[in-house]
């Protein structure tokens, strides 16, 4: 059962009604690595990311967590069934950061970070608060624990949301367009936080439109097109020397991404 892959996705399909968004995805996220998903809107990046912690239930295929496939097989088409209990246990080990932060507005920053620790990990109030304070300090928000989300800037809210996920000591962090809802001048502080996580050895799966950031942070870039993996390689290959026509078009379409030797 030992494996170096935190997440192993195989044959993953997802349909919304008659529309198939993911058409058979195979992808591994090795421990300590950062994988970035790129692709045009509608290519299925967010859906794929949300299938990893089952906020979307895959139509077919498997997601294995630390070598153990989630759910039990059902039917003949690769369908699986998932119990609430199993998914809750899984989700406690997978952190996710949303585009819209989704902080709990009726709780302070500190209470937001304590809630999962108290409810799911069963930590004491003191223990959860201490952990929350330490995390806030780590993302440059020491002393802001008493603030309600509405009194924090977007960038600060997103850093609190990152702390909320980290407080669960996750094995992998998912970032679903974590900077897309932020004012441009606030993007940097969130990206720096994510970069620091990578340096600490966190395993990450990231959906982002910040191509410069993707280039610098990714160990592996996965380019999705029409629900399939179209190209996958280290960033300098996919982003600077794309092999496929669609990848090339995508990179050319993002004129803000200018590295000196982009051909």
């Amino acid at each position: 059962m030992t494996t170096d892959n935190v997440i192993e996705i195989s044959g993953l399909r997802k349909s919304f009604g008659a529309h198939e968004v993911l058409k058979g995805i195979d992808l591994v996220i090795p421990k300590g690595k950062t994988v970035v998903l790129l692709g045009a809107s509608g290519s299925g990046k967010s859906t794929l990311l949300r299938c990893v912690n089952f906020l979307e239930t895959p139509t077919a295929g498997t997601v294995a967590f630390n070598g153990k496939p989630v759910g039990t097989p059902k039917g003949t088409g690769g369908e699986r069934s998932y119990s609430d209990r199993e998914l809750r246990a899984l989700r406690a080990h997978i952190g996710i950061v949303f585009q819209q932060f989704n902080l709990f507005p009726h709780m302070t920053a500190l209470e937001n970070i304590m809630e999962g620790q108290r409810a799911v990990l069963g930590r004491s109030r003191e223990e959860a608060a201490a952990r929350a304070e330490a995390l806030l300090a780590r993302v440059g928000l020491a002393g802001r624990g008493g603030a309600y989300p509405s009194h924090l800037s977007g960038g600060q809210q997103q850093r609190v949301a990152i702390c909320r996920a980290l407080a669960m000591d996750p094995d992998v962090m998912l970032f679903d367009e974590a900077t897309s809802a932020l004012d441009p001048e606030l993007v940097g502080e969130v990206l720096r936080t994510m970069k620091a996580l990578r340096e600490d050895g966190m395993t990450m799966l990231i959906v982002t439109h910040e191509l410069g950031f993707a280039y610098h942070i990714a160990d592996e870039v996965v380019f999705l097109s029409e629900g399939r993996i179209y190209e996958q390689a280290p960033p300098h290959e996919v982003m600077l020397h794309p092999k496929g026509e669609r990848t090339r078009q995508f990179m050319l379409g993002h004129s803000e991404f200018r590295l000196p030797h982009l051909d």
Binding site: R91, F98, L103, P105, A165
Partner: protein, 221 residues
């Protein structure tokens, strides 16, 4: 003033005061009961499975679409025949008013919970929280903020509807006023005073609820 506080009215005051106490008793019981009914059936309709959902809809539609006066009369006159059971005027009035108001309250709860963004469920689920915990820690506390104005209206309405208990001779404020007016022939004084009492209670109560709402809004929008 002397003309208004006539001797007959002065004699009536103790009886009116007893009536007011009965009105308040009935209102408080119905308020608490209708809140609980509203919570249970509102959650059933919002998050229940197919059967619970259908039950909640049936309850709401039956009690919201019949006059509360009919419900009170039914519980007082019809129920005892069906189940061979003595039922007091207070119980019949409390049943009718609570079930009626509970149906409206269920809809207030449901609308309040539906106003909580889906992202809140996702964030809580992503932490591994149980459904019950998400409901009580994340969804309901936020929903309550949206619900206070609707509940203010509902409770004012409920308070005034307690006067319907007078038709089954429950000695609340209005029934007491009728008795006094019949004895002393002073309907002008007595019913004016009853109206003033209602106003004097409803206006400060709704003011306090608006203050509460504003405070909740300030502390955490």
């Amino acid at each position: 003033m002397d003309a208004f506080l006539s001797p007959s009215l002065a004699i009536s005051l103790p009886a009116l005061a007893r009536g007011l106490v009965h009105t308040l008793e009935l209102a408080v019981v119905c308020l608490v009961a209708s809140l609980l009914l509203g919570l249970v059936f509102g959650v059933m309709r919002y998050a229940g499975g197919r059967v619970l959902h259908a039950l909640a809809i049936a309850y709401v539609e039956v009690f919201r679409n019949t006059p509360v006066l009919v419900q009170i009369l039914w519980f007082f006159f019809a129920l005892p025949i069906l189940v061979q059971f003595e039922i007091s005027a207070f119980t019949a009035a409390a049943l009718g008013l609570s079930l009626n108001s509970g149906a409206f309250s269920a809809e207030i709860f449901r609308a309040g919970m539906q106003a909580v963004p889906k992202g809140q469920w996702e964030a809580a689920n992503a932490l591994g929280m149980s459904r019950t915990r998400v409901m009580f820690r994340i969804v309901l506390p936020q929903a309550v903020r949206h619900m206070i104005p609707a509940f203010t209206n509902r409770w004012i309405e409920l308070f005034k509807l307690t006067s319907l208990a007078s038709v089954i001779a429950y000695p609340e404020l209005v029934y007491s006023a009728q008795q006094i007016s019949n004895s002393y022939f002073n309907p002008v004084e007595v019913f004016t005073l009853v109206a003033v009492i209602f106003i004097a209670l409803v206006i400060p109560a709704s003011y306090l609820l608006r203050r509460l709402e504003a405070r909740l809004r300030r502390s955490a929008p």
